[in-house]
Symmetry: C2
Subunit: 406 residues, 2 copies
């Protein structure tokens, strides 16, 4: 039998989806599995997006241009203008999800063996795109006890080598829920300019921002015209994960041109989903405000609930819809499997994402769990109760020692 | 300014799409551009596919499973059974177009620097996926004067090195329109087994087959259970190019598992397009028969028309909907640009694909043009007239010398 590739062998499984067979097993036993593992919001997709597809009068489902329909790119330019980013439709490339935008950014900018510095914990799927492009991820560790603040510039600078080509941030962050302050971003911009690096920013959670002020986009930072690459997506913004529509946005024409070659190779992003995404641009501000308030409530129920569990530490997320908590456990991978396989509370159990999969440094995150608060408050309450009860009986509980003064 | 990657610099532009800006220029001058460059059929998508999306009652456009909806995979298993391929839903992975299936096959099976042998001319976008995976394409040349028959096994065997991991075929072929005979495929299967290689087959044109007998699928060839990987797509079959739904099908569980890691990293294929593709499975046989007859007529009009032009040589394609012809010209890249920029016939011109872009061996195909016969017969007639008139005045005409007996 011919061998499979090293990438295929060594690429880590998704921490978000790898426990799915075990969850399916729990469901087969009749258990109600509460999915805190995946950022699949239960929020209704804007009805105008679905309506646009229903009333589509195409009879041939044709390719779109490789860079996406021009009408949609014009609409996107207006959207960006409304969030303080001035770009032209020619600087916007529609992609098959934010995933593909990131893959294109890596492929266009980095050679195999080149390095990208990413604050960890980071969205685990970055590993897949880095593996695909042969790019080496160099992690700079952010700390749970600091609320996953952007690491110091010294910490970044220590990691910069001649192979470093880019820094990648996710703001607001997945899995951390961290929203970076403007002054941290300004300092980062200086570092990027000093070393002439690309700054790739995953801003797909832009609208999920709990102090009511939008995060600063990497494309609205001065002096970064040639360095900044924005990765975006409709998945979370409009609760349209299944559309698979994203965007790569950059003012660097060479990067755009190089990315276009990869875009042409895969022909085009999905047509119907672009129609839906274009219609979604007309979503009224009230939709986002309602969702923001709903998510704040969900966040508070989750975070406050978790904090009442002995030994659990959970910083308050400022954006996105994830929280990372430290649990008093030996090993989150074991715990997440155990709770699905061997535990139930009133017929229910919880699917969680072990946070180890969001670190590149081996051994980190062993006591950490990522949770997506994308379900109704009543479900989140049930999940918290289930976790609290589970921690009473989980065989691998390791309670933190009280801080001593020695 | 940070540099872009070597891949981004060196990856060739798509020969199918790179002349688009020049075609746009011709259109801006009011010219009617007949698109023979791209395999975007004008055939109606099965109405039941569009209807399924219109009547979708989802209110949240959610992710699907990374491997695609199970109902669709079950439907696909029945479809494959109807074309003589027995596979289970668990051996089928739904992908974002055939493009992604091929990318996954490369990533799962080949390491950077590994070699894949492909008969040239081949579908130019293979270059993109090979570049992405760092895989080296080793071409084995098929000849226009042989009707692009599968090269001899000796020709293949000469190219096999210790880095050779796979052979990739496209059957029926793009750009050649060649349909491989069963005995050629059997010999190829022996070679594949002898050297323990993967045999990846792009069979997206399965139903476009003009002798009425379906080509043999790589998955119905005995003894290749661990070697065969099928790349498929709904794009051409149901005239649904814009859906971006394909499939990777293999009985090799290790390959499937490795490909699933890449599938998980990109989350899922588009949801609405899967709904449409599942409904399209119910397309009646009469749809395909009607289309087959229509395409045969188009093919005949194109090929017979071209053969009447002095100096043009065009083998008869047995499948797919492309023809490659040799034109009496100096350089197809120059000619394809010139005809768009500097020529018109009764207000019309033609967009063609220079066939150089479908060869990996530099210098080959300079007199060859690929044409997709996906338009109405009247348009194809217009295009042929336009080409005939263009060749009367094109400054780079190089008439073939009469064969001498020396």
């Amino acid at each position: 039998m011919p061998k499979i590739s090293f990438k295929g062998l060594n690429m880590p499984d998704s921490p978000i989806r790898k426990l799915t067979p075990i969850a399916d097993g729990a469901k087969a036993l009749g258990r109600h599995v509460i999915h805190l593992n995946i950022g699949q919001p239960d929020v209704q997709t804007p009805p105008m997006a679905m309506e646009a597809v229903r009333s589509m009068d195409r009879t041939v489902l044709e390719y779109s241009p490789s860079e996406g329909f021009v009408s949609y790119r014009k609409g996107l330019a207006s959207y960006y203008s409304s969030v303080g980013v001035d770009v032209t439709p020619e600087q916007i490339m529609v992609t098959t999800g934010g995933s593909e935008a990131l893959a294109f950014a890596f492929m266009a900018c980095l050679n195999p063996g080149d390095e990208v510095i990413i604050p960890e914990p980071f969205y685990a799927n970055y590993n897949g795109f880095a593996a695909t492009a042969g790019v080496r991820i160099v992690p700079v560790t952010a700390l749970l006890d600091d609320g996953f603040a952007l690491p110091s510039m010294d910490a970044f600078e220590e990691l910069i080598t001649e192979r470093t080509k880019a820094i990648l941030i996710c703001n607001p962050g997945n899995p951390s829920g961290r929203k970076y302050e403007n002054d941290s971003l300004d300092t980062l911009a200086e570092l990027v300019k000093k070393h002439d690096l690309y700054l790739v920013a995953d801003e797909v959670y832009r609208e999920f921002d709990y102090d009511g002020k939008l995060s600063r986009s990497v494309l609205s930072m001065e002096g970064l015209e040639d360095n900044a690459i924005l990765v975006d997506s409709v998945s979370k913004r409009y609760s349209m994960c299944g559309a698979r529509i994203g965007a790569l946005v950059t003012r660097n024409a060479s990067v755009y041109r190089a990315a276009m070659k990869f875009a042409m190779a895969r022909l085009s992003p999905p047509t119907m989903a672009q129609v839906a995404s274009e219609a979604a641009l007309k979503t009224p501000a009230s939709y986002f405000e309602e969702i923001r308030l709903e998510y704040m409530q969900r966040r508070d129920v989750l975070v406050e609930g978790l904090r009442e569990i002995p030994g659990v530490v959970c910083p308050t997320p400022g954006g996105a819809f994830y929280a990372v908590a430290r649990f008093p456990i030996d090993d989150c991978d074991v715990f997440c499997k155990w709770i699905l396989e061997s535990f139930q509370w009133e017929g229910a159990t919880v699917m969680l994402a072990p946070n180890t999969g969001f670190y590149a440094t081996p051994g980190l995150g062993k006591q950490e769990i990522r949770m997506a608060y994308v379900l109704e408050v009543s479900e989140i309450r049930k999940a918290v109760t289930c976790i609290a009860e589970a921690l009473k009986v989980y065989p691998g509980v390791v309670m933190p020692r009280t801080q001593s003064h020695s």
